[in-house]
């Protein structure tokens, strides 16, 4: 089995504010093999978006990568210089940030925006080559060729989002990180965009990290799933395994709090509120809301362990 495309090793991202250090990401480790889609799911404030930004080296002051490594295809991104990182972006690693469709340049035509990144990276193309590439990219995301000469405001939300997807794959990177790519879209459009990303992933052999909080969407789109809570990973594994046999109580609660056709009228949520990342709870960070917690959970932080092949969990129920 070849080495995984991405290896995140004990990544820590802290925000230094007057009151102390907010531990947005606190020691996260996972692997992503080539061509696999992985979902990173968690509530708001769990640190998932910070993780994405950290991998792209886009964390701004007062945030800092405190430690850990992000090894992409053998290179540690954390140790790269600004220029080296700039080269890596788009070529090897691309991101579709949250609300990307609202960040398209309103006064630039779509075709120019599509190739802008490439030109920036020093790719030299003749006018006809550029046009060909634009047509190619638009076709890959199921958009009509005439979109090339349009402006963002002339496009619908779903179309804009697909333009953002096209921009991210312009240089055929090895990996794409999509942060809540469909949260603002209607359910029908959401399906279209997700199916587009899916098809691209198969055609180009991309690895995709999909960040979100909608478990339903995760169930339908990703092969592997990572559950994050308060800056730490709770469980990682194959999607089917996690849905049918969740190991971590938090995963269990997340799944059971979802309304499905069978359980009409049954409303179960997760009691309590997310903890402060400035002063996280002692021991296991989830123990304050966990229905299965016992005294060890308050005292000792559970280790993130591989309990079966490819199945990791941080819970004393499985690792003590």
């Amino acid at each position: 089995m070849s080495a995984p495309l991405l290896q995140v090793d004990d990544l820590k991202v802290y925000y230094h504010v007057r009151a102390g250090a907010v531990k947005a990401v606190d020691g996260v480790s996972f692997d992503l093999p080539r061509g696999i889609k992985m979902g990173l799911v968690g509530e708001s404030g769990s640190g998932k978006s910070t993780m994405a930004l950290a991998m792209m080296r886009m964390i701004k002051e007062p945030g800092r990568i405190e430690g850990g490594r992000v090894i992409l295809d053998g290179t540690d991104l954390v140790g790269l210089s600004k220029e080296e990182m700039r080269q890596t972006k788009l070529r090897k690693l691309a991101m579709i940030p949250q609300g990307a469709m609202n960040s398209l340049n309103p006064v630039m035509r779509i075709d120019k925006q599509l190739v802008d990144g490439m030109i920036d990276h020093g790719v030299v193309m003749s006018k006809s080559e550029r046009q060909d590439r634009v047509d190619e990219l638009l076709e890959m995301v199921d958009l009509a060729p005439k979109v090339a000469s349009m402006y963002p405001h002339e496009l619908s939300g779903g179309m804009k989002q697909r333009v953002c997807v096209a921009m991210s794959i312009a240089m055929e990177p090895d990996m794409v990180i999509a942060d809540e790519p469909t949260s603002a879209l209607d359910v029908v459009i959401q399906r279209q965009v997700m199916e587009t990303i899916d098809r691209l992933q198969t055609d180009l052999g991309l690895a995709v990290i999909l960040i979100g909080h909608d478990m339903g969407l995760m169930a339908q789109t990703v092969n592997r799933l990572a559950v994050m809570y308060a800056g730490k990973l709770m469980e990682v594994g194959e999607t089917e395994d996690m849905f049918y046999e969740p190991l971590h109580p938090y995963t269990e609660l997340l799944i059971s709090s979802l309304p499905v056709l069978e359980n009409k009228g049954v409303f179960s949520g997760i009691p309590g509120i997310t903890p402060s990342l400035l002063t996280p709870p002692s021991g296991c960070v989830f123990h304050t809301r966990c229905p299965k917690a016992w005294d060890l959970c308050q005292k000792e932080i559970p280790q993130f362990t591989e309990v079966e092949s490819g199945r990791w969990v941080a819970c004393h129920l499985h690792t003590a």
């Binding site: 504010v17 701004k60 002051e61 007062p62």
Partner: protein, 290 residues
């Protein structure tokens, strides 16, 4: 916008907002100059023939004297006070009218809004300064004009920008969910304006006030430099009028030129910095992370 607590957090905020901090500091300095400074001078010295003419700055006359025999130090101190007072009157009257009209226009809309909008548009298009010149020259006895009179004349145009700015803010706020909530909670129109909209507009009101005071100062200086206004009192603008009348440039009376210009420059710099600082305060998104 947060409600902070206490003097200490104010100082802490000013440290993070240097524009506002320095602007206020300069303004405070000018206010002290204009008020406390009065204790150190004899206010009679500002009138012509009180001192020897054309004196270069020396120990006896720290800012020298002008061609009419006015002590320039005393003149500047009193002049600053006059100019700032005129600005304040124009600013407060302008803001007062602007707030009332802006809220009515923005919140209630309809015919009133159309009328107010029309007047505002007209006043913004015509040359406001010429209008002031016409008004100021046509009052009876313009050369004996008092501070209040000058302030009120300048107020004729100082309310226009605040009205537009406040109306725009009210329009955008009117559709916000918390206004809908207030209506659902049984609050009436005036109550919503005073209790819900007004507090959120305080930063914009402050910005409008700073702008209106600044505009008032500028307009009054313009009028006085042209010789419209009280010729005897040592307002800053009048000082400039006299120095041009007496050809201070040709005669190399550098002190007479530099001193009022320096004070005027300080006033404008102060208000510019305050505007920048208030702008940052009113737009939290541009605030740097804490």
């Amino acid at each position: 916008m947060r409600r902070g607590g206490g003097f200490q957090s104010l100082i802490a905020y000013l440290k993070r907002n240097p524009a506002l901090g320095w602007g206020l500091a300069i303004l405070v300095f000018l206010l002290l100059f204009a008020s406390v400074g009065e204790l150190f001078i004899d206010s009679e010295d500002v009138y012509p023939l009180s001192e020897p003419i054309n004196e270069i700055p020396s120990a006896k006359y720290p800012m020298g004297t002008d061609s009419q025999g006015r002590d320039l130090l005393a003149s500047l101190i009193l002049g600053t006070r006059m100019t700032l007072s005129i600005g304040m009157i124009a600013g407060i009257v302008g803001l007062g009218i602007g707030t009332v009209l802006g809220f009515i226009s923005g919140y209630f809309g309809g015919v009133l809004d159309d009328v107010i909008k029309f007047i505002v548009d007209v006043l913004m298009t015509i040359p406001q300064f010429l209008l002031l010149v016409m008004i100021a020259s046509s009052v009876p006895k313009p050369d004996e004009m008092g501070i209040v009179q000058m302030g009120l004349i300048v107020s004729v145009v100082s309310w226009v920008r605040p009205t537009r700015a406040i109306r725009a803010q009210v329009l955008s706020m009117r559709e916000r969910a918390f206004v809908m909530m207030a209506k659902l909670s049984g609050m009436g129109g005036m109550e919503i304006i005073l209790k819900e909209l007004m507090p959120n507009l305080l930063p914009y009101l402050a910005i409008s006030l700073a702008g209106a005071v600044n505009a008032g100062v500028l307009s009054s200086l313009g009028l006085q430099t042209l010789g419209i206004g009280n010729l005897r009192e040592p307002s800053l603008g009048m000082t400039i009028y006299w120095l041009r009348y007496y050809n201070a440039f040709l005669r190399g009376m550098w002190w007479w030129i530099l001193e009022p210009v320096a004070v005027i420059a300080l006033i404008f710099i102060a208000f510019l910095l305050i505007s920048i600082g208030l702008d940052e305060f009113a737009n939290p998104r541009t605030r740097r992370a804490v």
